[in-house]
């Protein structure tokens, strides 16, 4: 017997272990949310709680395994499994890693060693199920319970009719799709439940900001004129430029060589600085302190690089005087990028943006600022109080696109793609959607952009 016999497992042993640790379909259907569940359905499913690490005292992983054969009449045990609290998260992670070695050492079942008096030997796949439940509770249940409360309160907001209406539409949109539906049409292809940071008072992450920028990109791509003028890029452009051209000490010596290895960035640079296109993006100031500050801040800002007009357009929703100037490291990264393609000097000018008077809406306002820049005659700058409205509109719009793209991929449609896209992208930040029909599906009328 070795410490890590799994490392020496044969192909057949690995294949067998895969079967034993795989949650059977019947159990999966009974014990986990499935594809037929909307996000709201998934929240109502009864799942076990997690034992607090302060309460749980068992740390010997071997105590969770038994050489006894597992019980076979499992159907009667589903209710029991739903009720019994799981070990704490740390133990579940460790058990996952240790379980194959334990199986190689001859164990046949799993038991709830963290619960005194509970010694039923369950099948080995229960370890996998614990991990699935834990991941669901952490990445779906917990954030969406908060969103559900927020949406419910917003739907009952009698002082703001527009907001209430948007909340109703978003609620029904979320009800109409599986919480596991893939974000078809978006590059990350993550499940729809990953959008939780788009709603409530949550801080947005790069995935959500990139999703919003991709919606804007789709709008641009429906119009030849806009396509010829704008390049909408995700948050990674700035992140990569900063990595290539700067460090905390200043300018990197090997930056040109690193840049030349990055062909995709080089192509965008040519389009902007040689062909006069305009880059539209949102940047994160995590590693980009303002002048006189030591550290950056977890903050989203809009940024436009106008190649034809030779200017950087920069905004900051915090609107303090010192934030009217680009952070030095951000300016340095973009200026060095420019100098890889042209020696023309670029000015830095203000990009209009809504002033933020809360602690969570910079992502919304940064996106709105670049959307207004691209769609000046269709979209207006939000008022400070309208951030929630845009969040709701965007989640509705994203699901609309996913539904359409998913349908397009599964069934070959005879419709012109551009017409479909126009229909779903017409709703602008400042214009309200009509209320949803009874089935919760939203259809927006087609108008020329």
């Amino acid at each position: 017997m070795t410490d890590q016999p799994w490392l020496n497992a044969s192909f057949d042993q690995r294949k067998l272990a895969k079967q034993l640790f795989f949650i059977p379909k019947q159990a999966r259907n009974k014990l986990l949310p499935n594809r037929s569940h909307s996000i709201w359905d998934a929240l109502t499913l009864k799942l076990p709680t997690i034992t607090s690490s302060r309460i749980s005292t068992v740390t010997a992983l071997s105590a969770f395994f038994s050489h006894e054969p597992a019980i076979t009449s499992l159907e009667n045990q589903f209710d029991t499994l739903r009720k019994l609290p799981l070990p704490n998260a740390d133990i579940i992670h460790r058990l996952q890693r240790y379980s194959r070695d334990a199986w190689m050492n001859g164990v046949q079942s799993v038991c709830y060693a963290h619960l005194s008096g509970e010694s039923t030997p369950f099948p080995l796949w229960v370890i996998t199920w614990w991990d699935s439940v834990l991941r669901h509770l952490q990445s779906v249940d917990k954030p969406w319970q908060h969103i559900h409360t927020w949406l419910t309160n917003t739907r009952q907001n009698h002082s703001n009719h527009n907001l209430r209406m948007e909340a109703d539409i978003a609620y029904h949109q979320l009800q109409s799709v599986s919480f596991m539906m893939v974000k078809e049409g978006f590059t990350d292809r993550l499940p729809i439940h990953s959008l939780w940071r788009l709603l409530g008072n949550n801080w947005m992450n790069d995935t959500v900001v990139d999703t919003l920028l991709e919606v804007l990109k789709m709008t641009v791509e429906t119009d030849d004129g806009m396509t010829a003028r704008y390049i909408v890029c995700g948050t990674k452009v700035t992140q990569k430029l900063v990595d290539i051209f700067t460090d905390t000490e200043g300018v990197k010596v090997d930056a040109p060589a690193a840049y030349n290895r990055c062909q995709w960035l080089h192509n965008i640079g040519e389009d902007i600085f040689r062909n006069g296109k305009e880059l539209v993006t949102v940047a994160h100031l995590g590693k980009l302190p303002y002048k006189g500050e030591k550290d950056g801040m977890d903050h989203w800002v809009p940024l436009v690089v106008n190649g034809k007009g030779a200017e950087f357009l920069y905004g900051d929703s915090l609107c303090e005087e010192k934030r009217r100037v680009m952070p030095p490291r951000l300016w340095s990264a973009y200026t060095q990028w420019k100098e890889m393609h042209t020696w023309q000097s670029f000015s830095v000018n203000q990009l209009p943006i809504t002033e933020q008077n809360d602690s969570f809406s910079c992502g919304v306002f940064a996106f709105n600022a670049v959307e207004v820049y691209v769609r000046l005659f269709e979209v207006e700058l939000l008022r400070s109080s309208e951030a929630a409205c845009l969040r709701l509109q965007m989640v509705t719009k994203v699901i609309d696109i996913c539904k359409r793209m998913g349908t397009d991929e599964s069934a070959s449609s005879s419709s012109e793609p551009s017409e479909i896209l126009l229909g779903h992208l017409q709703t602008t930040s400042s214009k309200l959607c009509p209320p949803p029909p009874e089935n919760g599906l939203l259809l927006t009328p087609l108008h020329p952009l």
């Binding site: 490392l7 801080w203 990674k236 992140q239 960035l265 994160h284």
Partner: protein, 99 residues
């Protein structure tokens, strides 16, 4: 690379090119490099999981980019037309809202 991928001798290889392994370099924002050998038909999500485990981070907190585009769960080296010795950029999740 996951343990499963290390078993590169599949009994039924239908498409030799699709299963031919390639070398992929994963580079972090600090310049650290990790090398993987992966079959062209293997989902890159396995590589992502293996990388996250190696650097001790949650895979959800890391972004993997190939040629400037984010790699999704279902992408494979073949679907992205990756070639031997290609590079994947790793970036950390960014979250912002302000104070």
């Amino acid at each position: 690379m996951s343990e499963e991928d290390q078993h590169s001798t599949q009994p039924e290889i239908k498409d030799e090119d699709a299963n031919a392994p390639i070398n992929v370099k994963v580079v972090s924002s600090t310049g650290d490099e990790v090398f993987f050998k992966i079959k062209r038909s293997t989902k890159l999500s396995k590589l992502q999981g293996a990388y996250a485990a190696k650097v001790g981070k949650d895979v959800g907190s890391i972004r993997f980019l190939y040629d400037g585009s984010r790699i999704s769960e279902t992408d494979t080296p073949a679907s992205l037309d990756m070639e031997d010795n290609d590079t994947i950029d790793v970036m950390v999740e960014q979250v912002g809202g302000c104070h």
